[in-house]
Symmetry: C2
Subunit: 388 residues, 2 copies
Amino acid sequence: MRIIDIRDIVVPISSSISNAYIDFSTMTASVVAIVTDVVRDGKPVVGFGFNSNGRYAPQGLLRERFIPRLRDAKSESIEDARGLIDPAKAWAAMMKNEKPGGHGERSVAVGVLDMALWDAVSKAEGVPLWRLLADRYNEGVADKTAWVYAAGGYYYPDKDIQALQDEMKHYLDLGYSTVKMKIGGVPLKDDLKRIEAALKVVGGKGENLCVDVNGRYDLDEAIACGDAIAPYNLRWYEEPLDPLDYLLHAALATRYRPPLAPGENLFSMQDARNLIRHGGLRADRDWLQFDPALSYGQVEYLRTLDMLASHGWSRRRCVPHGGHQFALNIAVGLGLGGNESYPQVFAPFGGFADDTAVTDSRIAMPDIPGIGFEAKNKLYAVMRPMMA
Amino acid sequence: MRIIDIRDIVVPISSSISNAYIDFSTMTASVVAIVTDVVRDGKPVVGFGFNSNGRYAPQGLLRERFIPRLRDAKSESIEDARGLIDPAKAWAAMMKNEKPGGHGERSVAVGVLDMALWDAVSKAEGVPLWRLLADRYNEGVADKTAWVYAAGGYYYPDKDIQALQDEMKHYLDLGYSTVKMKIGGVPLKDDLKRIEAALKVVGGKGENLCVDVNGRYDLDEAIACGDAIAPYNLRWYEEPLDPLDYLLHAALATRYRPPLAPGENLFSMQDARNLIRHGGLRADRDWLQFDPALSYGQVEYLRTLDMLASHGWSRRRCVPHGGHQFALNIAVGLGLGGNESYPQVFAPFGGFADDTAVTDSRIAMPDIPGIGFEAKNKLYAVMRPMMA
């Protein structure tokens, strides 16, 4: 299995939304197509990858370093015993002459290419990626469905409480039972009104509502908010603090008893390990949101899962950020706790195969080769022209 | 003071050398020129910046995000009270819509631009950067000289012990008393022979020799090497471990008594703080090598120095990686412990103003406006054409 060509484009992944930290109006994503010499059903196997939201298209890094290194790697050096591309060997080729530490940006570039390689390999095998992952790394056991939740509730311009409630109701109508809203962008008393309004929509059940601060609070603010929302027993209190301030996480965890959910802005096994070692999190309740698309891909994610196991954490505590089909395949194939979903934003990159029904906040995966992009028309419309 | 134009080029910072982790034959650097509307001696003030070695030219990131944001920032929004550019405000403009965490790559792009802004501001003031920094942040006190050491001793192809000794002798002849060599790229017993050979050249004095592993060892290897070299009482044992594995640093520090020297692959105040909080380092002997050119520049470095002070660390424990004039100005202006120097590699970016004498491993800074690039002919030959 040889790489014939690697192509990349940049497309908007923008949205007229903002969270407590940034606005997303200029957000972009890179899409790559890795064309191989394997032919299936009369057509060359092409693997696709893209980066999820939050970190911008890494086109410069792709073109300056990571695409050339992958393209220039000798085929024999990145093959497995059966002659297929071995993503772990390809990963090593891409990371050649990269120093340790500094895991950001390049982790996105490598993640995009890693996603495309896994798509290509599972297509070459003629199986869905979730099946390939289950067979290789989970003793053949794949979950029948994945738990998903609807992430939204951003600070849309001029959005008021009625509009927030309408948005949340819409998610329930789509089949979700759990929804997530942004907080931390307005004074706490205003956020509390929004939280209580959203809680009403989900029947007053805290387990059906998550709140997300996007790392905006200092410790005082995180504790003040935590004290105010603790009685609601929310599903989780996401990223209240700077993602790298492990000590503050540990301090907050001594006081806030319901679940916390950090990790989406940690981009390597090493950073994830520091959160586990130093962050004072609780393996019986907290959630971990490392996003494989932003974090050197599935090859690195497997390292992170091994690290978690050695620290007594179940894979079920992992619910990746990003809302993409790549993480959905990983969730089903490796038995994670579920995955994020964006019913209204970050189109066409978020979401599932078309016609996927959400029932009780769970979905089933299609049984088609690869990650499943071809079953998601609006996304495939971006990818298909890259094969021309 | 307004920014008229921002230009960037990519140039090799390559060398036929390798350390224990990577080879440097494809290493590149970005050079930026920020042209302002301030006129001095009949010419517009232009600030220059570049990235030091280890992380590649960030041209894509510069052009995709950081140059456009700086160029598009309203002049009033990045001015200080006197109408000069305020680098901290410019920093905030560059980091707008960037999420927290993931400090790598973009920290280099921002560092390059930050360096150019400080060069421009000190030229507009008509003073050397070290003087400006001393006046603004060190109660007017600048050191008369800076301690420097000669970094080399790489694994050159076919280099043998005689060649290593010749190289070290050459550094002594140049006026250095302290030299540094790479280890970790060959079996320990071979490195020990190299270390003993280098020690002979510096008169058997461990305080005049540093060794650098570039993050290559695991804990067993780091302890084995540490046990072997502890009797030499070397000036420092640099980066024995993965830069983000704070727990391993703490473990090693319980056993290896002479000084350690990590930090060159940590690129933000947050990462540096984690090293200080969780790395078990010893404020009375260990050295910290955060490189402002790779770590969001001087604006962030000031935050790191504040963080260090609050943890009981003296600035004198800081000896930045990178061997550039930017860090030299910071060392003299803010009273650091010294700076790295590369007499034989990474030309023309490493080193001092031309005709700077090294005496007892110390140098004096020239008294010319800005960082001093104009007094370093081979470097200025790269920069000057950017003004055309």
